[in-house]
Subunit: 299 residues, 4 copies
């Protein structure tokens, strides 16, 4: 037997870029965390410390900042595609690049009833993400997986959990009315790169929220599938969607020792453990995923 | 010399309570983290392990949940006052109680243009807080310090920093146009307990945001003072306000090595170190603070 | 086209189990976070909310605690195998289980020169992990991937970075003496389940630390490969190893404005961004990985 | 009434400094997070944005790095005193400085049975801290409060909790054998600045651990007081000690539904809520604390 060098990648993680677009005194901001990862022929660095193929991660960081100036940022999918194509197109030995971006939401501060032109407050409602994979040099192919994380949602009713199997270790009571709460991480793969990213993202997010809210839930699994199905039915440009949804348990507090009832009013919100429900909804005619999901935390 | 037992307190921290008010199918939720701390004669427990005065922290937790059912939650200031008065009124040896509450913001999910009656999404814009101190048994006095934390704001222009002294260790260049970003922690002490808590809190928060946005800033210190001054001028029921504001540095990236300018467009958002500006704005006729600020992280 | 239900799994995450073994007054403790994930035929729950196949995550949690009593814990690999085989063996529709465990290190407190029999202090040196996959019902196959995370190491010299390519965006200077610091996450797949887990784990960890320390580093990639190679050469029972190593940058502070040199003495430890180097070292005759790496954060 | 400018301070927080002392090829490292805070006449900055008194936080950061080179670091108490005296001695309007330092523990990696001269692994056992206050210009006074945080300890037996009062809201059962676990934050004030900091700190830490381990605990309050008392009895140079100890609850899992007993073997380690016990042990002849505790999170 022989020891051999296997799969590998490297890059710069969590490059914090804030980009300001100034339209007279009305500004727009993009607040991003950009991570780059390159694949290719890096064997010499690993085996003998020859760095002639190692595009420094510092150079990758510089490239992100310089591109923000040279080309602007725009939608994060476009920015990631531009960066990925640059890396695979500029270095013969770099055969793949994954550019992952998180975009943090801000809203304008309102002063005297009017939006302030350049003052902002961090908003809630989750973080927009994209993970773009580019492979193959001059005629590179590209895959775009966009998504949302930390989209924390809760229904105070309209959720049941009954009919599950009971074995020796089962103590959970059935319930026809519980709190359902989760922090949605959804990632969807676009079938092409010819998409109106901003419009598509906003609408997928809207559908996810609406489906979570409107669906009477018999299981978090059912809610998850319903959310994905609604997205795919409305968006032919989405090939598949993967969701990871922790079941953030809210336990009805037993108040009977105090002579009190508790008809769905007082809950203890638990941290750990939590259920973790993960699933994929796809199309029967989805184009191949290729390297799209590589290095994305998965299931 | 002799070793002596000094100051002390104990309680239950971070009791996670979610309370649902059901008005037919339209629900309201309160999502809280409640911490209790009692003061009084606990010497025997410390000196000889005699727990006859130690109201168990588990009992304190139960009381929080039971009170949520018996009396509802309402505004967090009222809930904290009720709990604090209970503890000092129920146990002769308990002479003081501090009830600290964080309230997490949620907004209703919109489905087909209408607010869903019982589905919610976690919002941004900071966490509402209160820290209520009750002292003195049957004729207890009470102080209320409410506030907001994690109110993350940013101005992309309208901020300068010039005219600071230069010594041997000074390298910072003066600037007349920078990003100003911070995460506001503000805590204000009410002059009485006869306040419309919800209205007052919402308006103080509105003023803080508006003052941050509107004030052309020559120093973060100036912005801080202006924010506090605006609050006190508008709210006679506020005796004083204390603010802690990290200067979340955004550094203009030097793009000259790449032959590029950078006219306030591309910034690196740094994590550490950060400036930390802390200050108090008060009134010349503010009533005494008493124990109001005890055990609140301060400066 | 039709929307179809794809890949999925679910389970209970971060079950916090502390197990005490009492040997008269000398105790041993195991402090674990256990996560379970099941695969199988769960389509009905997703499609129509029929939970008859959904082994409740609460039941999974109960099983973990009950097994700790019934069978003890022992080495985490054995505990995970026992749990995984239980789930695939007990429910006809469950075809796969992944049991992931983190074990937190404790050391005995020393009192008057002797180890206390039942008092402990949390130790450093990283967290021991395992991720066990069991597939296939009665004649289940199993894969064991053990590892270490948060193993934070630093060399104050013996690290260079030179000879990297320079393009338009390169500004980094070459260096022949820098601090090399990282937080090692290593995961290694055992070729079989017939291993002395405790002995193997301790020795792999020892080798990783020793290789990091002893190897003069021309690139973090070289250090990573060397660490893996040393493990594989010493441990035939290890089929492959994957490592993820952030380059935790320590920047030499420029003290020239203050008329001071800085010959490798004063460094700024940066948080973000950081380099991220990931690689695999394997054998040419390694048995197939099967499902071993599924759902493990990867590259 | 008039709005007035009150208390205030500002500085640079969490300056991450790693200092290397090279004794031929054997290196020593100090890994610190340093925070500075200045008090004095900063009214003009707050009121009108006049920064002529505002020693830039960037300058404060530079000073920390430059001092590490010019004077070395040594013990963190000495380093903090040196910095604090510099700030109050250099600027007429700066009347007070608080320098807070955290020092992270590292141990040498052992290779082939010998300590490696310049390779290190992050250790456990808590973080060493100091908070030094200097007041008053040329004839400045100074207070030193040193401590330890994140010292996580656990006893698997030797802890009881009985005899506590029972009211309507009490459900907790008494126990004569439970797990006692906490994360000690201790801060002790030295009576002078003429102390062998390293020796004193190591011994106080040793006593805290030993007292926690050896004391049969009837209440966490009793353990806390005992720990402090032991420190004061052994260290006349310590004027007082304050401790904050969360009661990290470990709940015995009820296994009776599974037909199993649980004789102190299987515990669920809970995150929140937790008890929080805080207390001070002092001397009857302790010198005045002055500003020593200002701005230290307290109780």
């Amino acid at each position: 037997m022989a020891v051999i060098f296997g799969d590998n990648q490297y890059g710069k993680a969590e490059i914090r870029l804030v980009h300001v677009t100034r339209d007279r005194d009305r500004h727009r901001i993009k607040d991003l965390s950009v991570s780059t990862a390159l694949r290719g022929d890096f064997a010499a660095a690993h085996l003998v410390g020859d760095n002639s193929h190692i595009v420094a991660t510092d150079t990758q960081k510089n490239t992100v900042y310089a591109f923000a100036k040279e080309h602007g940022v725009g939608e994060i999918e476009d920015f990631a595609l531009r960066l990925g194509r640059h890396f695979v197109g500029s270095f013969a030995w770099v055969t793949g690049a994954k550019i992952s971006i998180e975009e943090y939401p801000w809203e304008r501060i309102v002063v005297d009833g009017a939006e302030h032109p350049h003052a902002f407050c961090r908003a809630g409602g989750g973080t927009r993400t994209t993970a773009v994979t580019v492979e193959g040099g001059q005629e590179a192919r590209a895959w775009v997986v966009s998504g949302v994380t930390d989209l924390v949602v809760l229904k105070s009713t309209g959720s049941e959990f009954t009919g599950f199997p009971r074995d020796r270790y089962t103590t959970l009571a059935e319930t026809t009315d519980r709190i359902l709460a989760t922090a949605v991480t959804a990632r969807w793969r676009y079938a092409s790169t010819d998409v109106d990213w901003a419009v598509a993202h906003a609408d997928v997010r809207r559908i996810l929220l609406g489906a979570f809210a409107a669906k009477h839930s018999l299981a978090l699994q059912q809610t998850l599938y319903h959310m994905g199905e609604q997205v795919l039915q409305a968006h032919p440009e989405v090939a598949e969607i993967r969701m990871s949804m922790p079941n953030k348990h809210h336990f009805l507090v037993d108040l009977t020792p105090f002579g009190l009832g508790n008809d769905g009013e007082v809950y203890h919100a638990a941290d750990r453990p939590y259920g973790l429900i993960e699933g994929q909804v796809t199309r029967d005619d989805a184009p191949e995923a290729g390297q799209a999901w590589r290095a994305i935390p998965g299931f």
